[in-house]
Amino acid sequence: MLAYLIRRLFAAAVMLVVIVMVVFGIFFLVPKWAGVDIASSFVGKQADPAAVDAVRQKLGLSDPIYSQVWQFFKGIFAGRTYSGGGDVTHCAAPCFGYSFRSEQAVWPVLTDRFPVTLGLALGAAVLWLVFGVAAGVLSALKRGTIWDRGAMVVALAGVSLPIYFTGLLSLAIFAFGLKWIDAQYVPLSQSVGGWFGGMILPWITLAFLYAAMYARITRATMLEILGEDYIRTARAKGLTEPVVIGKHAMRSTMTPILTMLGMDLGALIGGAILTESTFNLPGLGRAVLDAIRNQDLPIILGVTLITSLAVLLANLVVDILYAVIDPRVRLS
């Protein structure tokens, strides 16, 4: 078990370094080879050549490639000082780059936005797990009945309706029509109730989509598991039906659900772009959207790295949980 853990951790660390290099490559080297001048895009559309030169010098864009990557890595651990064209900009460790567009270091932007997205993703995940899995199990146990059909129709709707539709609809009804909630984002540190109020609609909207997918997966897996020989054995032992379903069948059903959860959570933590823009939440997704609009490369780079890190971490956690659930995984 310990060896398995160490192996997974080591693999994750290697993966992370590779990701940083690849992402860095995509953002800084590919444009260079393609003949696009990054420095001018950092400065803005109508920049004077002197300012572009200054940025180029500050960012070390004329240095060799390996030195640029090295500088970036070093910045993450030791901070980085950009100097050139007279003025000096300091970016404290961990420095994930500096946005000259918005005149701020990338890291504080990420740390500002990250809790919002994390709260959104985790809250929604709890909702969709509880409702999706429950609906899936019920649907499997009542296969072919009106309950099954009803649940699957709702699930189909959830999968096929786009977020900006369900999101706007829920806003129109609950926030503007019935005025039950004030759909304004309030940081958790300011007011727990306000935060909850602002998050509840995004949670439900996001969870609706995922719960639908999870219900379908749960139903299919559950039906398959219920046909397994070891479920028959469990019944032959004289176990009651709740134990057969809740203990023996559920544990096996969790395996594919966990896999999905890892990937989905990882991707969501990198920014639920549609949900965040629909509900105007100041999360990573919104940050990326704004950065793309402004061609703010360092921010995009930073968020991309965070997303990769999140996916990686989520997968690591899933791998470990996997080994806890399925003893056969521990061996290989």
Binding site: L141, D229, Y230, R232, G238, P327
Partner: protein, 365 residues
Amino acid sequence: MTELSKSGAAVGEPTDASPAPTAFLEVRDLKVHFPTDDGLVKSVDGLSFALEKGKTLGIVGESGSGKSVTSLGIMGLHTAGQYGKRKAQISGEIWLDGTELLSADPDHVRKLRGRQMAMIFQDPLSALHPYYTIGAQIVEAYRIHHNVDKKTAKRRAVEMLDRVGIPQPDKRIDSYPHEFSGGMRQRAMIAMSLVNNPELLIADEPTTALDVTVQAQILDLIRDLQKEFGSAVIVITHDLGVVAELADDILVMYGGRCVERGPAEDVFYEPRHPYTWGLLGSMPRLDREQQERLVPVKGSPPSLINIPSGCAFNPRCPYADVPKDNVTRTVRPELTEVGSRHWAACHLSAEQRETIWINEIAPKL
């Protein structure tokens, strides 16, 4: 209904006027039908037999003969896994130690499962839960029926593992099924089914998934354990060698019904049904001189949706066209006594069958 088996004599009085059973296990006119889109699958279609404690009944038949469904029916597991779909239909009577199971409260039958009647399945790898240790699964089986703490149950599990011949049982108890070999897994399965000292043990193809040297070990174990525990055993198999090793009585199934039933020696040495002859003739045997040619049964097993009218075996029977007295071909032959405790269901007269067996079949085996 629920407390049927608790008190003494009057218990288990059937609702209709059929006489109370005398045997430990008595199955009367059991029918298990499954409605499907293609029609009604009559897996078991009128099966009766009785079994005493300490005896072994071998049920022999090919795939689709209804032998496994019979065992699931006795255990009350025939509907398992059929959520919301059209439910299996079961009728007849199953008397276990004075309790009629089909009309009993399902929760009462559940309490008997695993305690008074237990089952061993064909493939121990898929029949054991892959995520729980062998020990945990045995402990669970024990604790449903015994109000003891985990420690006591674990001691009992170690004791059972030791009894079925698993080396270092106190260590192996914490292993997972995938860490065991096929033979060890089947031993663990047997330990689990015997943990509550069941009076009826049903083994459904207990050795089919095992290698022949391991099979010999397991058959040996089942035989020894039966002697020790004195339970009634039903062995379900397609392998005539396995029934010959274990069974006192043999029941041959074809198309959901019993075609021949009797003491093992009689069924092997004086079989009185053409299908039994066919089974014996299809099988190459190690204990005899090399046969020149096997004598197979022509054709394929019947569809359980459209069971042939009359005798289900008639389309494959080489003697279907032999002239018979006072027989309508479309009428299903009933079991008739052909010897002491030996029954067969065939339209041929007993004399005709005896002649065919002595002159045509026996010399070729």
